[in-house]
């Protein structure tokens, strides 16, 4: 069993352990979860440390690292051919940063769940299953495997939101689930279509191997998604285009893009703090990762022709999300919408099809990962204390909770793209990439880049407005004296969780090469993959 498998299935062991232990030992659950996630984090750091940055990955299996390949399902389906599903995992520069990020955010998530006392057994068990699924998604290279993990991820989330969530949790949970499932069942159809179109050059069988799908030579001529002699169309739309659109749709729900984002504010607002953290920190990244790993790598030709639209969607998301965030009165909802806006940058960067844009998008994902996690955690801190997060109900918190205010201010400024923090590097390079797109003739016009930069301005507006409204001025609270007493400053545990995230934001802001150096080769490889079709 290789390192990656251990990384993936370690939390499953934790789940079993938690399930086996009697309820009387419920105090130990969180320690088990913490221990295992910590172990995972260490493991992911080991992966990071031993990662060979010069290897590209993307469509070359030999350039992937820590690869494990086991034949999993082999079925003879007669005329349809042989079904070939492998347990194939590996990391390249695209997945590695996200894996490290996930383990870190998971750690934060477990830390944030310290005070869960409503059936902790189920809670931590589900959290660990989610953990497994997430790791699986980021390392799976077989589409079937990917899909399995992708769907498995949804289940624990449904329950985590639905059982431990807020008032309208049922609505939020089912909305989230149906939204995502809708995307993924349609994705399944495309997976099936790809399966029929691609042949493993070694065995001659149809395959679910994503890397084979990325190589045009492996497509059967005339098959549904073939490059050559493809006369297939669906309702008049060429087959490859429809494949791309559907896959994009599936991942775009996760990203989320406007107008497929409406599950997000609901899910975030209703989810308990740790789940919000994980949702924002990891799950949104799956969308971006999927677009890079699946949509763009498997359909490079379509990616090259549709990127104008994708960039447009990205820009619209940026502005739309930011404007929505500005209108929010609920702090958590505001941050949720800010996520929409920030993830719009990811899409814009990806669509720019430049090395800068793509790397910026990846960086933005990583950065948004722990920054949004930190933000949601901060909201959670407030909510824990007074069970309210309505912005107008707070005033002048700075005098009451100076440490908290400091953390909030840092997190806000880091998120609004203050240089020196990671979000800046991400956003700046997305913008630079988008500008560069015109020089590279990838078809993304410059006004989109300008539109994106207006998003940066708007993000400053809503963060600063909130900061001023809630934290500055004379202390005046809705709940009066009761709240005043309840609003104690951050305790050590909370600081321990927050500090690394913000420190990391700073560290990555100052030394972006920590991320860039690892993903650069992969990004270039991806660009090379797409370039012939531009």
């Amino acid at each position: 069993m290789g390192l990656l498998s251990i990384l993936i299935f370690l939390p499953l062991v934790a789940t079993l352990l938690i399930l086996v232990l009697p309820t009387s030992a419920k105090a130990t659950y969180k320690y088990i979860a913490l221990g295992f996630t910590f172990l995972q984090f260490g493991l992911s750091l080991y992966l990071y440390g031993n990662f060979e940055a010069s290897l590209g990955g993307i469509q070359q299996l030999e350039a992937y690292q820590f690869v494990e390949q086991l034949s999993w399902i082999r079925m003879d389906l007669g005329a349809i051919g042989k079904l070939e599903i492998d347990y194939l995992v590996g990391v390249d520069g695209i997945s590695l940063p996200l894996i490290v990020l996930s383990t870190l955010v998971m750690l934060m998530g477990v830390g944030a769940s310290w005070n869960i006392d409503k059936s902790p057994k189920g809670y931590f068990a589900l959290l660990m299953i989610l953990n497994t699924a997430v790791m699986g998604i980021f390392s799976a290279l077989d589409f079937f495997l990917f899909y399995v993990f992708y769907e498995v991820m949804l289940l624990p989330l449904y329950f985590l939101i639905g059982i431990w969530g807020g008032e309208r949790r049922e609505y939020a949970a089912i909305k989230f689930f149906i939204y995502t499932l809708l995307g993924s069942v349609l994705m399944l159809l495309i997976i099936v279509g790809l399966y029929f179109s691609v042949i493993n050059p070694v065995t001659g069988a149809h395959t679910f191997n994503m890397l084979h799908m990325m190589n045009p030579a492996n497509y059967v001529d005339g098959s549904f998604f073939a490059y050559i002699a493809n006369y297939h169309d669906v309702f008049g739309i060429p087959a490859r285009l429809i494949g791309f659109i559907v896959l994009f749709f599936a991942f775009a729900i996760k990203v989320p893009i406007v107008p497929l984002h409406t599950w997000l504010p609901d899910a975030h607002v209703e989810a308990p703090t740790p789940v919000s953290i994980i949702l924002a920190g990891i799950l949104l990244k799956i969308g971006g990762y999927g677009i890079i790993r699946v949509c763009y790598s498997i359909f490079p030709d379509i990616a090259a022709t549709t990127n104008w639209w994708l960039a447009l969607i990205g820009v619209v998301s940026i502005l739309y999300g930011a404007l929505n965030a500005l209108a929010q009165k609920d702090l958590k909802r505001m941050i949720a919408y800010s996520s929409v806006s920030h993830m719009g940058f990811v899409l814009l960067g990806i669509a720019s099809l430049t090395a800068e844009g793509l790397a910026g998008a990846m960086f933005q994902m990583v950065s948004h990962g722990f920054l949004s996690a930190a933000l949601f955690f901060l909201v959670g801190v407030l909510y824990d204390r007074v069970h309210d997060r309505y912005i107008y109900n707070f005033r002048g918190l700075a005098s009451l909770m100076p440490k908290y205010t400091a953390y909030v201010a840092i997190a806000f400024f880091a998120s609004l793209g203050l240089p020196g923090f990671s979000a800046f590097i991400g956003e700046a390079f997305v913008i630079i990439g988008a500008f560069n797109a015109e020089s590279m003739t990838t078809g993304v016009p410059r006004w989109m880049a300008i539109g994106g930069s207006i998003g940066i301005l708007l993000s400053a507006a809503y963060f600063l407005w909130t900061l001023q409204r809630m934290f500055f001025g004379q202390t005046r609270l809705q709940g009066g004296q009761v709240w005043k007493e309840a609003l104690t400053d951050l305790n050590t545990r909370e600081q321990v969780i927050l500090f690394p995230a913000l420190a990391l934001a700073l560290l990555l802001g100052i030394m972006p090469s920590l991320v860039f150096s690892n993903l650069n080769a992969s990004v270039l490889q991806l660009i090379d993959l797409i370039k012939p079709y531009l």
Binding site: I73, R74, M75, D76, L77, G78, A79, I80, L83, S119, G122, Y147, V148, E151, V152, L154, L155, Y158, F159, G162, I163, R169, E170, A173, I174, F177, I178, L181, L182, V185, L186, L188, L189, V192, G193, Y195, F196, S223, F224, H232, V234
Partner: protein, 487 residues
């Protein structure tokens, strides 16, 4: 063909080995009647044991037939992979149903087991023939046995109403089918639908009459499969019947009927018969409508059994899709059947177990039960996940394979119908999430203040259900365990 009597006798005698499993059932049937008459009073579970033994014998002989492909009784009896595996599944699930019945209705139920065996026999007949006469006999055997099963325990209004609706609707469908069959017989002079003469006769016959006849015939099969528009009885009957019987109704009769239907479709599709193209359309439309109706109507249900009735209608749509996409290998249809049976049996056992505790099958009565029966509801949720078709469960693999084969049809033919099937199939699985997840929604997400006093929770049935759940997951992760057997 040599029609001299000794020849026929020879043939019959030669065919008997092919008939061993059924012979075991016939003997068991008679023996069970006698046991129920004479032994039951003194020895409570004697009929049950007799039933299990009978089924065991049948199973034993079936396993012996595993790699046999043969015809017997002048071509009226087919033994091939389809029939053998279908019968295997039938017998296995009947064992579970028998245990189910024994657990829930242990008093004065001796006769039920013999009827159960009779139904099993009917299923065997249905799944191993391509002859209309045998088909009709099979359908009627299963039907009549089911009528009795539904009506047998009817102590109150709903149960008797369910039985009445079932029997009347079923009889009408059977009568209509019979009439259709008579027309087909008249037009072709042959009752073996796989034979060339039969097909030739159909092709020569006037289109109007043949259309009428075929649609009449589909009425009978449709009743068994409960596809639209012959699905209307199933929600009422499923709800009204005792849960053990509902479990039976929702699984076993469908197996035989779908096998028969698949044979029928297979023998017609891609022939010059004008109906072959039409039947493709027919299948597509029926499958789509069935999936839609089943899943949409289920959205509003408040009774779990009724909801499961609609769910099984929805699954029928998928089964039809599997039939539609048939190419040259039966394993994925069988796989779907296996998956379907596993899921449905487990579901109904869970429903029954909860009913034992709360006395209700209403979703509302599930409120907050997740805390009190965590293991049961976790397993129930897993099965529900499988019913939706989310990995890593067997339901997902089954659905994937159906989609796969449908896609290959689509790719090779460019048929819009196939595409529509795929899209609707995908969409309805998303829709189905909503109602299947009402179960965990009520059980886990809501909490009730009404204290529920729980009785003893351990039973053979639950163990079976947990094993089934485990299989649902295991086969989901390692589908090739099943597929290697089936292929």
């Amino acid at each position: 063909m040599n029609v001299s009597i000794p020849n026929i006798l020879d043939q019959i005698i030669a065919s008997v080995p092919l008939f061993k499993p059924e012979l075991a059932l016939i003997i068991g049937f008679i023996v069970c009647i006698f046991i129920a008459l004479f032994l039951e009073k003194r020895w409570r579970n004697s009929t049950f044991i007799g039933c299990i033994v009978t089924l065991g014998f049948s199973l034993y002989y079936l396993i012996g037939q595993l790699s046999t492909t043969a015809t017997g009784f002048s071509g009226m009896w087919l033994v091939d992979t389809w029939s053998t595996y279908a019968r295997l599944i039938v017998v296995c699930s009947t064992v579970i149903i028998a245990i189910f019945l024994q657990q829930q209705h242990s008093k004065n139920n001796g006769d039920v087991y013999s009827i159960l065996i009779a139904a099993t026999l009917g299923m065997h007949v249905l799944s191993s023939t391509s002859h209309w006469l045998m088909g009709f006999i099979g359908i009627e055997m299963v039907s009549i046995a089911s009528y009795i099963l539904v009506g047998y325990f009817s102590h109150n209004k709903t149960q008797s109403e369910a039985a009445m609706k079932y029997v009347l609707f079923g009889s009408v469908c059977a009568a209509v089918m019979l009439y259709g069959l008579s027309l087909i017989y008249g037009l072709t002079g042959n009752l073996d639908f796989q034979s060339a003469e039969h097909l030739q006769g159909l092709m020569d016959a006037p289109e109007a009459i043949i259309t009428l006849a075929l649609l009449f015939v589909f009425a009978g099969i449709g009743f068994k499969l409960s596809f639209v528009p012959f699905h209307v009885w199933s929600p009422d009957v499923y709800q009204g019947a005792p849960t053990a019987i509902t479990a039976f109704l929702s699984t076993i009769p469908k197996i035989g009927a779908i096998i028969l239907f698949a044979r029928l479709y297979q023998s017609w599709s891609s022939t010059a018969f004008y109906f072959s193209e039409l039947s493709t359309w027919f299948m597509t439309i029926v499958a789509i409508v069935t999936m839609l109706v089943g899943n949409l109507a289920a959205l509003r249900q408040q009774d779990v059994k009724r909801m499961m009735a609609y769910s099984s209608i929805g699954h029928t749509g998928l089964l039809l899709m599997a039939v539609f996409a048939y190419q040259d290998l039966n394993s994925y249809l069988l796989f779907y059947i296996v998956a379907y049976v596993l899921m449905n049996l487990a579901t109904f056992i869970f429903i029954d177990q909860i009913e034992q505790q709360t006395g209700s099958t209403s979703l509302l009565s599930y409120t907050g039960l997740g805390k009190k029966m965590p293991i049961l509801f976790t397993a129930f949720t897993l099965v529900a996940i499988s019913l939706i078709g989310i990995p890593p469960t067997v339901g997902f693999v089954a659905k994937l394979m159906v989609f796969t084969s449908t896609f290959s049809v689509f790719q090779s033919s460019g048929d819009t119908g196939a595409l529509l099937l795929l899209i609707i199939g995908a969409l309805t699985s998303a829709i189905s999430l909503f109602f299947y997840f009402k179960i965990p929604l009520y059980a886990f997400l809501r909490s009730s203040d009404q204290p529920v006093i729980l009785k003893k929770q351990f039973g053979v049935l639950l163990v079976i259900a947990y094993i089934l759940t485990a299989l649902v997951i295991l086969f989901g992760i390692f589908p090739n365990w099943v597929m290697q057997v089936l292929a």
